[in-house]
């Protein structure tokens, strides 16, 4: 049986209310993986996705169309607090997997041990089971280290620096098959080489009979006799067919699986009447900062894998990872210093830059909640002083790596530090840098913890079976359930845990 991908307005006009075994909210890493598992059990599955269906032919090499069509809030979602941090999320069929760098990192075992000892999740999330799911995903999504042939200038320089300094480092493992190194991961892979959910698990689910309803926002989960029974969705207008948007109900015989991300999931649960002191709380992230090295010869960050090499020497002592990061010209320009003729001078030399991201495993916890008046989600987040201290260490290491690779200067991008360092002797100044988070330009796309799992109803929002403590039949399988952040890129762990969770959900409802 072949399923379908259908615009919400068309679904409303052609089908109206329908009933499935499971309704999954969200088509990103967690939702698509849950669908991939549930269709294999013979269950009928509907996936509700707020964004549009996009294909590689829709992808351009300019940024604005991508922000408009692929990103939540046209890429301008920020946190509120001391220093606004960008929160980057995909909003299209396949979610963030369409626009991220396809990095596959396994959760460090030390993190899982803290989940076991501090949060009592040893039985809920057995490590051996997660390892098995990682291995399965590795096979199915072609996880492999970035091949040297597509490293390009930026990745080559980081490898050189890592060798000079003798630090733990290596090519980044990614979900790719036939990567050409176009450095355009954030705009959607033009060559269909990225094994995003839109290229893998979602087509698999459709071939196995799943129905994907796009352009449909999940308003709330409905319940019947104290059990989740469906989802009220609001389909947006379809200009091409002249079909108007409307609300309709999709019924779920066995359960509703929420996988809308750590920012959107708590809003859906709250609108559905779920109450918990932990809902929307414990928001954690991996704030990222960028430094750029200026070289005497062209680096050409636009040739080669977007993020093909990383240094993990500092994961434990500074809780940070350093990665190459190629940015499209528009985004890179905006990060360069100066205005007017000075800015133009920086732009003119942008092909001589190597760019590194520092990804911090922050201790800080924030909160997300629905905005009452203006719509959208309010994300409150402030780094702790120990986080800023670790961030400075990470910045220092990244600058050291750039000098080791032969950079003539390093652009720090931090207000309160010299705009450019011209010698490794100046590195010490970074650690004496500002304590104010607003002095750092930060962005994150790794989000966790707003509907955390706990076997104890007083300790979390969902139980050890991924079910909401206070509403049977409602399940959460995305990174909202993680009790902490990971310190490494989360997609691989999100997928493994969603896979394991979906198997449990299927067992419980068989």
């Amino acid at each position: 049986m072949i399923g379908q991908i259908i615009h919400g307005a068309d679904f409303a006009a052609e089908h109206g209310t329908e009933t499935f075994d499971f309704v999954i909210i969200g088509s990103g890493a967690a939702g698509a993986t849950a669908a991939r598992v549930l269709v294999d059990t013979g269950a009928t599955v509907a996936i509700v996705e707020e964004g549009s269906q996009v294909t590689s032919s829709d992808f351009t090499d300019t940024v604005w169309p991508a922000l408009r069509d692929l990103y939540r809030g046209t890429g301008a979602q920020v946190t509120r607090g001391r220093g606004a941090m960008g929160v980057v999320q995909g909003r299209c069929l396949g979610g963030s997997t369409v626009v991220n760098s396809a990095i596959a990192w396994r959760m460090p075992e030390t993190v899982w041990q803290s989940w076991e000892t501090e949060y009592g999740l040893a039985e809920a999330l057995p490590y051996a089971e997660i390892v098995q799911r990682w291995a399965q995903i590795d096979r199915e999504l072609s996880v492999q280290p970035t091949a040297p042939e597509v490293w390009g200038g930026n990745n080559v320089l980081l490898e050189k620096a890592a060798k000079v300094l003798g630090v733990l480092a290596g090519p980044t493992s990614r979900y790719t098959a036939g990567c050409l190194g176009s450095a355009r991961c954030q705009l959607g892979c033009p060559n269909r080489a990225k094994r995003s959910m839109a290229e893998t698990y979602l087509p698999y689910a459709v071939e196995s009979g799943a129905t994907i309803i796009t352009n449909a926002r999940a308003e709330r989960v409905l319940s019947d006799r104290s059990r989740a029974s469906g989802v009220l969705i609001r389909a947006s207008e379809r200009r091409e067919s002249g079909r108007r948007g409307r609300t309709l109900t999709i019924h779920a015989r066995k359960g509703v699986v929420v996988a809308a991300s750590a920012v959107q999931t708590p809003g859906i649960l709250a609108r559905s009447g779920l109450r918990s002191p932990h809902l929307g709380k414990h928001f954690q992230a991996h704030p990222g900062a960028l430094v750029a090295g200026v070289f005497d010869r062209e680096v050409s960050i636009w040739n080669g894998a977007t993020q093909g090499y990383n240094v993990y020497q500092y994961l434990d002592d500074a809780r940070c990872k350093i990665e190459t990061l190629s940015l499209p010209p528009e985004i890179l320009f905006a990060r360069l210093p100066g205005v007017g003729s000075r800015w133009l001078e920086e732009i003119a030399h942008s092909n001589y830059l190597a760019t590194l991201a520092i990804v911090l495993r922050a201790h800080a916890e924030g909160a997300v909640r629905e905005r009452r008046w203006f719509g959208g989600t309010d994300i409150r987040y402030d780094l702790e002083s120990r986080d800023i201290s670790n961030l400075r260490k990470g910045l220092r290491f990244a600058c050291e790596l750039l000098f080791a690779a032969g950079a003539r200067e390093v652009l720090t991008g931090v207000h309160g530090l010299p705009e450019r360092l011209t010698s490794p002797d100046q590195l010490r100044s970074i650690e004496a840098g500002p304590d104010d988070a607003a002095c750092y330009s930060l962005t994150t796309s790794h989000l966790f913890g707003t509907a955390r799992m706990s076997p104890d109803p007083a300790g979390g929002v969902v139980d050890a079976d991924f079910a909401a403590h206070r509403l049977p039949g409602l399940y959460v399988v995305d990174s909202s359930v993680f009790p902490t952040n990971l310190g490494v890129n989360p997609q691989h762990t999100i997928m493994a845990i969603a896979m394991y969770g979906a198997e449990r959900i299927a067992e419980m409802n068989s």
């Binding site: 090499d61 300019t62 940024v63 604005w64 922000l67 408009r68 809030g73 046209t74 890429g75 301008a76 979602q77 920020v78 220093g83 606004a84 597509v150 050409l180 190194g181 176009s182 450095a183 033009p190 060559n191 062209e298 050409s300 636009w302 040739n303 499209p328 010209p329 528009e330 985004i331 890179l332 320009f333 905006a334 210093p337 100066g338 205005v339 007017g340 003729s341 000075r342 800015w343 133009l344 001078e345 732009i347 003119a348 942008s350 092909n351 203006f374 959208g376 207000h415 104010d436 607003a438 002095c439 330009s441």
Partner: protein
């Protein structure tokens, strides 16, 4: 619609004919087309941030270098000094507004094929070269 004051801010950010390698200014790159789409489709907070940034650059930035607003009454070097002062202000909301202005300006400027050619951006030419 961009007013005379708005245009003065954006022209100052990326001026025409001041750089040998990049002689194009922002308004030589069809920024109005990008702006029309931005004004129609960008998230409300993004649009409001951009408008507030333009207003602040017009009416506050000159004061930071002890000149009377609006920005548009001054010559280009003075306008640049005023915007630089805004970008380096110790008051973080000012810096964030400049970041929004630079982001929106970059969305237009960095997408222009002539600018991309001048800086050596390969675009799809790289893919084709690898394939062949």
């Amino acid at each position: 619609m961009l007013s005379k004051h708005d245009r003065a801010v954006l022209e100052t950010m990326l001026p025409s004919r001041t750089h040998q390698k990049l002689p194009l200014g922002l308004f030589d790159t069809g920024f109005e087309t990008l702006y029309a789409s931005f004004d129609r489709d960008a998230a409300r907070t993004f649009r409001v941030g951009f408008r507030v940034g333009l207003w602040t650059a017009t009416w506050i930035a000159p004061l930071l270098i002890r000149r009377l607003p609006p920005l548009s009454r001054h010559d280009r070097p003075t306008r640049e000094r005023a915007l630089t002062a805004l970008a380096r202000s110790d008051f973080s909301p000012f810096r964030q507004l400049v970041a929004v202005l630079k982001t929106v300006a970059s969305l237009g400027y960095g997408a222009d094929p002539r600018v991309r050619h001048a800086i050596g951006y390969p675009g799809s030419a790289y893919d084709e070269a690898v394939r062949s």
